[in-house]
């Protein structure tokens, strides 16, 4: 296994080595120069507080802290960062929006800003500036970022959720590479189970891994929650097909997935209990770091989600938008901070320090070295380009956010796979909830 120098550096995990582009005084000088020329001058005496999702990779957080320090030194704006588990950012943001006080900036999940679009500061100027400078936004970022004609948030990054699988076990089952079509994937799962090397997808309320796979399953078979005018179309033969597909797949999974949260499949994969699952790059990173798991790190790889009968990729990857609330006293400082975060000299080292966990959504960052440092990182680089948006064909607003937060699609699949409801019953429950959400 080739060990690239940069990969060793990244493996070292410290922000200092990963942020190899500019560090220390050089970064400060650049940041000061940026502050002089940036179109957004922070207000006098500005102080910001930001609530962000808790890091998945320590080195990413270290790099982020350094980035913030550079911003503070350059502009004199002190930024207070607090971290919450990523599922808890949304309730806190909702309460802050409701009460009109709280952190100035929220960095959350999916279409969080669309839950209260009128409480978000207009970010159109920042988005246009960044789009022009860095090769344009990927289409899904534009959909997520805009509400009507203006941008209400800045999509900072995506978290790719791809297939993780064991190479040797797959070869033994007769698959030298991971199947790229959904029918072949069913055969793969059956063959793996026959070999006593099953896999698993979460059917509990796992907001990342669970939602990722059920939406892929639904969309790849042609099903959709709503059409493009937000009319509920979940009750369709395609949805039934998707449910049958999932149930067949469920038979090849390890027992217990109905109680899985987002961490359960990580634990199971690293213990060798499962051989295929969906996850970010965190399993691979954890395996590389732990000397006792080196064998797993070498024996595993990542793959794109198989393509269904619909003929094109239908993946759902997490997106992390950052937004400023209208109750903030320092909107210009907020804009300056968000623009600063996405400037190449900051963003590149920060993405590298995340070791592949986070993906960019501005096209110029395709060239970031993390995607070529290790061939196993490659598929994650495409996450932003391949993803569909929450809500599928429909609007990406409050309704889509509610549907995901209420686990409507996930529960529909769980109900049928565990046998609690039949096909009609599962779809009926989901349809009723969706009709209420989308009325």
């Amino acid at each position: 296994m080739n060990k690239f120098t940069r990969r060793t550096l990244v493996k070292g995990g410290t922000a200092a080595t990963a942020a190899s582009v500019l560090t220390g005084p050089a970064l400060l000088e650049w940041a000061k120069a940026w502050a002089q020329t940036a179109p957004w001058k922070p207000e006098k005496g500005a102080k910001l507080s930001m609530l962000r999702w808790k890091y998945f990779v320590q080195s990413e957080d270290d790099a982020f802290v350094k980035l913030i320090e550079a911003f503070t030194k350059a502009t004199g704006v002190h930024v207070d960062i607090s971290r919450e588990s990523y599922e808890d950012v949304q309730p806190k943001a909702s309460v802050a929006a409701n009460t009109g006080t709280g952190p100035d900036l929220f960095w959350g999940l999916y279409s969080l800003p669309h839950l209260f679009p009128q409480k978000c500061v207009d970010m159109t100027d920042v988005a246009d500036y960044l789009g022009k400078k860095y090769g344009g936004w990927v289409p899904s970022a534009v959909t997520y970022g805009k509400s009507g004609n203006k941008w209400i948030c800045i999509p900072i990054c995506y978290s790719g959720n791809m297939i993780n699988y064991r190479i040797e076990a797959s070869k033994k089952a007769g698959f030298s590479k991971f199947p790229d079509k959904s029918d072949a994937f069913l055969e793969y799962a059956k063959a793996m189970k026959a070999q006593n090397a099953p896999g698993g997808f979460a059917l509990g309320h796992a907001s990342g891994d669970g939602n990722g796979w059920v939406h892929w399953c639904l969309w790849s078979q042609g099903g959709n929650t709503v059409d493009k005018s937000d009319k509920v179309i979940i009750n369709s033969p395609e949805t039934a097909k998707a449910l049958e597909y999932a149930k067949t797949l469920y038979a090849s999974m390890i027992p217990g997935t109905a109680s899985w949260n987002d961490a359960s499949n990580n634990k199971a994969f690293l213990a060798g209990e499962i051989n295929w699952t969906d996850n970010g790059i965190s399993i691979y990173v954890a395996a590389k770091k732990d000397p006792t798991k080196k064998q797993i790190a070498e024996d595993m790889d990542h793959a794109y989600w198989p393509v269904g009968p619909i003929g094109k990729p239908t993946e759902l990857h997490l997106m992390y938008p950052a937004m400023a609330m209208t109750y903030t006293k320092y909107p210009q400082a907020c804009k300056a901070l968000l623009a600063f975060m996405l400037e190449a000299d900051n963003f590149n080292p920060w993405i590298e320090s995340a070791q592949g966990y986070l993906t960019h959504c501005l096209n110029a960052y395709d060239k970031n070295p993390i995607w070529t440092a290790d061939p196993k990182n490659k598929v994650f680089g495409e996450a932003a380009k391949r993803t569909l948006t929450a809500g599928g064909l429909g609007s990406v607003g409050e309704k889509a956010a509610t549907a995901i937060a209420d686990f409507v699609v996930l529960d529909m699949f769980a109900n049928y796979c565990t046998g609690r409801e039949d096909v009609k019953g599962s779809i009926a429950i989901a349809e009723r909830q969706l009709k209420r959400i989308y009325r």
Binding site: P255, A258, A405, D406, T418, R420
Partner: protein
Amino acid sequence: MTDVTLNGLKPSPRTVTAWDRLKTNRSWLSFWFMLPAAAFLILFLAYPLGLGVWLSFTDARLGRGGVFVGIENYEFLWEDTTFWLSVFNTILYTTVASTIKFAVGLYLALLLNERLPFKAIIRAVVLIPFIVPTVLSAIAFWWLFDPQFSIISWSLKKMGLITANIDFLGDVWNARWSVIFANIWRGVPFVAITLLAGLQTVSPSLYEAATIDGATNWQRFRYITYPLLTPIIAVVMTFSVLFTFTDFQLIWVMTRGGPVNATHLMATFSYQRAIMSGYLGEGAAISTAMIPFLLGAILVSWFGLQRRKWQQGESND
């Protein structure tokens, strides 16, 4: 000496004004003394309760206010299978857990009432499950019941009693029994220690008299211990049922209401709808729907268990 004042006049009796009467009126004074406590209760209990009930009649979302919509939330919930599932789960959870907690707690209290070596230490140890923060014990149970890494499954496999891991929290009924077990483990000490306190108030002379009359252990329990304990039982079971019915932490940490909503209690379901999905009005309606059940439980306890005349201080019939 006759009473002569300085200017030779007798002092006239002071007229009692209305203000004087008010100043010394007990009701008036007690109102002002109660006010701080009342303000506290109104602000932190009555106001949230009232606001919750009001919210249940609006379509408030998290992030914006709502308008009055009458009983629309309740109508929606009436047809919602998940809501009725949560009601069923809550009633099942409460009845099974409370019954077992009462039985085990009473038995434990009777045991601890005997003369034992190291009584104080044993009583302290028995109380530990109740004192440990619920979230911590819930996390510990979550590990114990893990589908892949449970120590219980591992031990049973090592002993050769089972061949595959037990799916504690992924199977619908296994999950229910698992959370009920965790709740019982946590709640027994409360019942046990309170009943023990009650047992200590029973006068030993009654037992002596019964023993002299030839009563068996069971008869002593049935005719002396149990009747005298009923007021305490009423209190402790009211609290126990109330806490169990509104349990949130244990369920949320262990299963988040899963699998497929099989362990969703009304409290956790209300949180999911109100805060996670943002339907504040609907969540408030689910919480408000708990009130009739709780009132019923309290009424049963207080009236059903306190009817004996001699307990109210009158003579026997």
